[in-house]
Amino acid sequence: MPPTDIAHPTVPTLVAPDRLKPKFTRHIKERLVELLLMCCGLVAVFTTVAITAILVYESIGFFNYVSVWDFFTGTVWTPLFENPSYGILPLISGTLTITAVAMLVAVPMGTVIAIYLSEFAPHKLREIIKPALELIQAVPTIVFGYFALLFVTPMLQATILPGLPGFNMLVPGIVIGVATIPTIASLSEDAMRAVPMAMREGAYAMGANKMQTALTVVMPAAVSGVVAAFVLATARAIGETMIVAIAAGQNANFTFNPMEAAATLTAYIAQVSMGDLEHGSVGYRSIFAAGLVLLIMTLVLNLTGHFLRRRYRRAY
């Protein structure tokens, strides 16, 4: 090295030179921290693996007693009776009926509210409604269960549906629907807001009014995000437990008539867990089999939803 190097002038020694040397211990500490943080991340992977492993393991035990064919085609679900019968269809019909009622309420209302908030509402109103929607999503669902059983059902019985039984699938369906509106409205509104302003301006320039713009330009552009909102909301409705456990009744009932009482997959799991069930019995294992069916249904919907959401995020 030449004595006067302009690019690398000699630094006056302000600190002891050894403080600047790479320290072996320092390196080890950095590695340890990284390893520790990685383990934290791995907890998520571990949880998924554990969920799958436990559900599959207990379900295999269950299917040693019950044939898979009977399980998926049987229409009588009475695992806790003296002559048990293990057909899952009644629980699936209950789950699907309630979910369908919920979506009939939540999809139209949630979508219209989302369009209104995104395209029509004044800025100030949106700033109030959006946090309110978030707040409502945080309300424990057991509160809505109370509302369904002790307010909505008696009210419908007293007014338009005098023949409605105390436990039925209609009311929990409607209440889940109303509780799901904020989810759909909030997610769909996000998707519509992600549509670039230039597209709206283009439509206005062509003489379209606000509604024509919203329905023929913004909606088609945001459609994958809006559909994702529907799909994710459906998954949440299928997995909802407390509203149905309180207001839909406890008996598995193979019917698609919302005016009847019927248990769902989730309500069955909750009901059996409330009782004293011997560890390892067929009844105990039946809740894991029901849980596995539930997990597969929601998993398919969630993966579809996330795929669609990623698509609209990539588009703009």
């Binding site: 436990i54 369009i115 945080a138 109303v178 919203a214 799991i269 849980g291 998993l299 996330h306």
Partner: protein
Amino acid sequence: MNGMNMNTATASAPSAPLRDLGAMRARIKSGILRQQIFAITGILFTSFAVLVLLAAFLDLLFDGLPRLSWDFLTNFPSRRAEQAGILSAWVGSALVMLVTMLAAVPVAIGAAIYLEEYAGKNWFTDLIEINVTNLAGVPSIVYGLLALGLFVYHFGFGESILAAGLTLALLILPIIIVSSREALRAVPIHIREAAYGMGATRWQMISDHLLPYSRGGILTGVILGMAEAIGQTAPIITIGALTFIAFLPPMPVTGEFPFLSLQWVWSEFTVLPIQMYNWVSRPDKAFQLNAAAAGVVLLAMTLMMNGLAIYLRYQVRKKIKW
């Protein structure tokens, strides 16, 4: 629907639309009318949803408020509805929340730091990310089944506060991870570069700069997660929490050395939502009013925590100008 209308309108009169100003004015007018009808529908739907949800809260308040008293908070559940209270329920909820927080917060923040600051773009990172997104959508009762099989029987924790706390911790991990990552991402890159430029190692940069600066955002996520956990009923039912508990867990502070006892984590327990569920499902009206009162306490706690989180987020956004 509207698109079809427009198409048929232009297709049916292709020859003379431009000169016929009257027809054009009529079309614009009807378009504006339809738009106004649509806007009114939007307002109606929004107010309907708000009204129904308001009705739910008011119904709960009207039923529950008269039952709320000091005695209600300090009495154990009882066979007589008028003497029943939620002492064991709220103490149980508080202790379960304590376990949940101690377990979830470090792990979630650690995972968030790893994903934001360490993880490279490879299959391993993708694997973790997919799992976090996926777990957020798993129904809460499935977490209960996991806990029943793993914590209660396999690890032998039994139907204890520890099992419940860990279950809820797993449940809220995705919530805290996602919001912590957002908070970390909001710290601009030049802060990191400045720290590295001064010779800091990666962990020194994170612990001395990133974490203090993203504190507000992380705290918001933690509060949101805890608010979610406190209202969870289904997973706690599944692990087999009892509904009638007329005792408190052992005190965490004792008179003898070493003055701290962890016996309480093994104790049987009940929590607020379970107590409420138990009272709701009884046919006796007096117990249902108790359920409403418990619901008011639960709702107040959830809304307070969420309100705090929204306020915090607002403050963080307002204060930080990089």
